[in-house]
């Protein structure tokens, strides 16, 4: 990664350095927006999530430290929680099944895409694609839509008592595939 490290920028943000916030914004806007859009399936809502995440970042509503792991993971956790808040407010609306193939698609690469991030995306996407359809579906409902246990049961037709086991199984397979794909990429 070129330029200052995330942690350096974050520390400058704590000193109210607007340029540092802008640098973090440029670095993460696309990832955070894409993730928010994946979760909310709504461009306006996704933008609101991005805005709220950066307002929280600027105002240090929650603070990051290196013990919390990678900065990007911390930022993404904040993004997911913010998106879940927005989704809960929307929960009275009928849910629309998300079909990835129908989503807005961006093929043009921008120079700001970090190589590391691109490789990671490729690795994760390949691994997810190797999952069985019903395993992808349960991860979609559980992780990206953040549904309740009961709704996941309803949407998948699985008994309540079976849902957690299926999530666990899907994630176990995913982990294996990520490991395999990662091994291929590195070997």
């Amino acid at each position: 990664m070129s330029g200052p490290q995330d942690i350096e920028l974050y520390q400058q943000v704590l000193q109210r350095d607007k340029n540092a916030l802008e640098s973090l914004y440029d670095r993460y806007q696309k990832l955070i927006y894409s993730f928010s859009y994946r979760m909310t399936k709504d461009t306006t809502l996704a933008e609101e999530v991005v805005q709220e995440v950066f307002i929280k970042l600027w105002n240090s509503h929650s603070s990051y430290s290196e013990e919390k792991g990678k900065f990007s993971s911390w930022l993404l956790t904040m993004t997911r929680n913010t998106a879940l808040d927005h989704l809960r407010k929307q929960s009275s609306k009928p849910a629309v099944e998300f079909e990835e193939r129908d989503s807005l698609r961006e093929t043009a690469e921008t120079p700001s895409d970090l190589l590391e991030e691109k490789e990671k995306k490729l690795l994760i996407r390949r691994s997810v694609q190797k999952l069985k359809k019903e395993q992808r579906h349960i991860i979609e409902l559980f992780y990206f839509q953040g549904l309740t246990h009961e709704k996941i049961s309803h949407r998948t037709g699985l008994p309540l008592g079976t849902v957690k086991g299926r999530i666990r199984l899907a994630l176990k397979h995913l982990k294996t595939y990520i490991h395999e794909e990662g091994g291929k990429a590195n070997g």
């Binding site: 859009y37 805005q51 989503s103």
Partner: protein, 258 residues
């Protein structure tokens, strides 16, 4: 809500934030004694390292950066007018402070605002100007559209929605427009509307009526014959039973001094 036995089954709703405060406390107590749930939760939290990257890359909408950054930095703009009058209509209206620890109340819901401005035959130039000016409000007095005042409205109640709104008072030629952008508004039923009020002394004057989008965003542009900054001492938004109220009948949800 799943409730068919062991506390372990609460983990999905805990992870996705669906538990009530009481249920959350129960589960957190349980976590202290259940290594299996702790391990599972750690694993799920670890997914953030991987799963977000499965999102199809999407190009953010045009102008998002400007909108987001101006909303972020608008937080710390100093209040432009010291309060000249005590709030009269809304006893518990909190004056918006620029304290950095305060939650955002300046959200630009510009897609909605832009659509509205355009649909009203308003001008897109105003919209662009507003974006640019929002971080340097007090200084920008020499543009075609002149921003007379910008305030963020603070929630007056403790609703779950935590609504936010900003009001820009803009001189456009001989007219003065009040532009309201609001977000995180609660749902409306039947004929209910959100009503903006400008308050002079103890007399509220209607200053625009709007409804919220499905995502809780709302915007309205209201034209005043004239604007005298001394005249108005408060701006407020209330939740009205219909669009006919001549004085606030519903709950005031947001307010700011002017």
């Amino acid at each position: 809500m799943a409730n068919h036995g062991a506390d372990c089954d609460l983990i999905i709703d805990y992870f996705n934030g669906h538990l009530s405060r009481e249920e959350k406390a129960v589960f957190e107590d349980h976590l202290e004694n259940c290594a299996e749930c702790r391990a599972e939760l750690a694993e799920w939290n670890g997914l953030i390292e991987d799963l977000p990257y499965d999102s199809e890359p999407v190009t953010p909408p045009e102008g998002m950066k400007e909108r987001v950054l101006s909303a972020v930095f608008a937080e710390e703009e100093p209040k432009q007018h010291s309060a000249s009058a005590e709030p009269t209509l809304i006893g518990n209206a909190k004056t918006n402070s620029s304290s950095p620890s305060k939650r955002s109340s300046a959200k630009w819901v510009l897609p909605a605002a832009a659509a509205l401005l355009l649909s009203l035959g308003g001008n897109a130039f105003l919209y662009n100007e507003l974006q640019q000016q929002s971080t340097e409000l007090t200084q920008s007095q020499e543009t075609v559209d002149e921003l007379l005042q910008y305030v963020t409205l603070s929630p007056t109640g403790e609703s779950d929605e935590n609504p936010t709104a900003s009001a820009s008072i803009v001189r456009t030629g001989s007219q003065v427009n009040v532009v309201i952008n609001a977000s995180s508004l609660g749902p409306l039923a039947n004929d209910e509307v959100y009503q903006v009020w400008l308050i002079e002394g103890e007399s509220p004057k209607r200053a625009g009526t709007f409804i919220a989008s499905e995502s809780g965003a709302g915007a309205v542009v209201f034209t005043l014959d004239e604007f005298n900054s001394e005249q108005w001492n408060q701006i407020a938004i209330s939740h009205e039973p219909d669009a006919q109220s001549e004085t606030p009948e519903g709950e005031v949800i947001l307010a700011s001094e002017l």
